[in-house]
């Protein structure tokens, strides 16, 4: 846990020389601030409403953030390279319509439809990566264009119609199983597993170290013998595949293929990444922080609703928290120099 929260490239050279105490390591970890905020929010809502602190409610919160959470894993990878992906929600929506329509109309068996959806989303990621790396173009512009392309394709292919009557395998991840007295959604486990897998890959593999190195300085990474071009394209492709999984989770959660889905999910995923302490300048942050980030959004939405506070206040508070999180990032970068 501690190891994953202080990935290479984030600590100063001095910190490398002196073995930091556990207490200091915890304090300097980029996830500490978000974690404190999350725990404070949980404590507050536990005191304010009796329905908040129950297993069922926490299971519900995780289930509600699993789609944006999975998107945010891909978003974190891209932001770690100092890029950004505005197309994630639209790509997911297109993937979900492909899966839903193919399976519901019987053109493909359900599992093949799911596989096709993953390939399509992965393909969008690959295309993003190629354009960013090979031409090269700024990620903001490439993914802004791709956002419109995917959005339009979704509406053209779906003919603006919501796809219903989906075969069982498509919604299987939305089913629950009892754990004690709490119903857990399978999809929540998928999301948590993906977070753990990517957290491990980033902190404990050569690939992960290369991602951080690339984010800190592409030129330095290249001079150190990292094949930055292949790495960048790979990261965008992995992100695309994650959006495909998010598409399946979305279908399983709502039980339909919805062409209107995901319209604000690009910004929601960036919000989660930033709330989780990952720097928009690249090279600094972690996916576990992002998990905390999506939970902060989910806990506020759920807690405020349980208290009977109108949803617009949730948006207000999220906005304040985001500005705060980037301010903290900027200040600590300055101080660290």
């Amino acid at each position: 846990m501690t190891a994953t929260t202080t990935p290479p490239g984030t600590s100063s050279p001095y910190a490398e020389l002196k073995a930091p105490t556990t207490a200091r390591r915890l304090l300097t970890a980029p996830t500490t601030g978000p974690l404190v905020a999350l725990l404070l929010a949980c404590a507050f809502f536990s005191f304010s409403t009796e329905q908040f602190l129950t297993g069922g409610n926490f299971s519900l919160i995780v289930q509600q953030v699993m789609v944006v959470g999975t998107l945010a894993i891909g978003q974190t990878l891209i932001i770690l390279t100092a890029g950004i992906d505005l197309s994630c929600g639209a790509v997911m929506a297109f993937g979900s319509i492909v899966i839903a329509k193919m399976a519901a109309e019987g053109s493909l068996p359900p599992l093949a439809a799911i596989a096709l959806g993953l390939v399509v989303c992965g393909g969008f990621g690959l295309l993003n990566g190629l354009l960013v790396q090979k031409i090269p173009l700024p990620p903001f512009i490439v993914t802004l264009g791709m956002l419109n392309v995917a959005f339009a394709l979704t509406h053209i292919y779906s003919e603006e119609q919501t796809v219903t009557n989906l075969p069982g395998p498509l919604t299987a991840l939305g089913e629950t199983f009892p754990l004690g007295h709490t119903d857990i959604t399978y999809g929540s486990l998928v999301t948590i597993a993906l977070f753990l897998l990517l957290a491990y890959s980033l902190s404990n593999t050569g690939w992960g170290r290369h991602v951080y190195a690339l984010g800190n300085s592409q030129e330095a990474a290249r001079l150190n013998g990292i094949r930055t071009s292949r790495l960048t394209i790979g990261i965008y492709t992995v992100a695309g595949l994650l959006y495909g999984i998010a598409a399946l989770l979305l279908i399983s959660r709502t039980g339909v293929g919805d062409p209107q889905a995901g319209q604000t999910d690009n910004l929601d995923s960036i919000t989660a990444v930033v709330l989780g302490g990952t720097s928009l300048f690249g090279g600094r942050g972690s996916v576990l922080g992002t998990f905390i980030g999506v939970l902060i959004v989910g806990v506020f939405r759920n807690g405020l609703q349980l208290m009977g506070v109108a949803s617009i206040y949730q948006t207000l508070i999220t906005g304040v928290l985001v500005i705060l999180a980037v301010t903290v990032d900027q200040l600590s970068r300055k101080k660290a120099r």
Binding site: A41, E160, Q260, I312, Y313, L331
Partner: protein, 338 residues
């Protein structure tokens, strides 16, 4: 040196985050106090989920629900999608309201079909679900529907336009909502029925999303295509005002008849100012108030509201036409919303 800066920066970070977290928490604490009464035992909890937070139609709906909740000793909580069509946001709101223990949920579905599974889950837990303004698909997915008869709203302005044209040949432009949305389709068809026309008689049909800027663009394009359009049907008043702006730019605003649906205060004022000839006024406040009452009644005696309740529609115009019943804008402004 480095040790102190690193430590102080991290301390600063933690302190700042906890400080603001505490601040926002206090802020939302007070928000709940002013919004709705904090949970008292025995109070019936009612949830209202609208398409968005920002459209005046839904703001008025919320007001109606709040007033009715106060009068009937119910506790109202509200939520909305982030944009028109945000199904996932509405699903999340339903789940959270069920978790909060509401007795009933009033909802204007953003996506009539996509919302159905979530509604079914809530109903399976004994929650009364009533659709306001927009029916679900299928309609039977909810316990009851409180809404304007949109076909009739269209018919009224269709009949009015027919009478106002006094036998002149009509060239119709239709500024519609969006493909496949039932409200828009019903109003459009109602207008044609009232006018005694068919889709073949529509010289130009464009989608506007009910948006003023898009309504203006649509009208400009229609005038390019068919310069002698003389009747404009619009899905709502923002679209109508957009059309008016486009017509005015061409100096055509006096000889083209614009009719609309909604009865918002801005729209009704536009009828008074002569920009819109007539509008069918609907009553969102009533939909919400009736909905809250139905949930309270269900909590009291376990009887669920069912079927369709027409919340009424009135034709508003200052240039009354023979054979078409209408009320003037004085009445319209007294009963308008938003």
């Amino acid at each position: 040196m480095s040790r102190t800066t690193r430590l102080s920066s991290s301390l600063l970070r933690v302190a700042a985050l906890s400080g603001v977290a505490a601040l926002t928490l206090t802020a939302c604490g007070s928000g709940s106090g002013s919004g709705s009464s904090s949970s008292g035992s025995g109070e019936v909890k009612v949830g209202l989920i609208t398409k968005t937070d920002t459209n005046p139609f839904f703001v008025k709906m919320k007001e109606g629900a709040e007033k009715a909740a106060k009068e009937n000793g119910a506790q109202l909580s509200t939520a909305a999608g982030k944009f028109d069509g945000d199904n996932a946001g509405q699903v999340t709101a339903i789940e959270n309201m069920v978790a909060a223990g509401v007795k009933g949920i009033l909802i204007t579905p953003s996506d009539s079909k996509a919302i159905v599974p979530a509604i079914e889950k809530a109903r399976a837990k004994g929650v009364l679900v009533i659709a306001l303004d927009t029916p679900t698909d299928p309609e039977s997915a909810v316990d009851a529907l409180f809404a304007t008869d949109n076909l009739k709203a269209g018919e009224l302005i269709g009949e009015y336009a027919k009478a106002a044209m006094k036998g002149k040949t009509a060239k119709i432009a239709a500024l519609d909502l969006a493909p496949g949305v039932s409200v828009g389709v019903q109003r459009h068809n109602g207008f044609l029925k009232g006018f005694g026309a068919t889709d073949k008689d529509v010289a130009c049909a464009q989608d506007t999303g009910g948006d003023q800027a898009k309504g203006q663009t649509a009208m400009e394009n229609c005038l390019q295509k068919e310069p002698d359009i003389n009747v404009v049907y619009t899905i709502n008043e923002p679209a109508a005002l957009g059309a008016y702006t486009a017509l005015k730019a061409k100096g055509r605003e006096k000889d083209v008849l614009i009719v609309s649906v909604d009865g918002g205060c801005t729209g009704t004022q536009a009828v008074k100012d002569g920009k819109i000839a007539a509008t069918s006024q609907q009553y969102p406040l009533k939909m919400a108030a009736e909905g809250v009452k139905a949930v309270v009644a269900y909590a009291k005696d376990g009887k669920k509201a069912s079927g369709y309740t027409d919340t009424g529609v009135t034709l508003i115009s200052d240039k009354a036409q023979d054979g078409v019943t209408s009320k003037d804008t004085a009445y319209g402004l007294e009963n308008c919303w938003g």
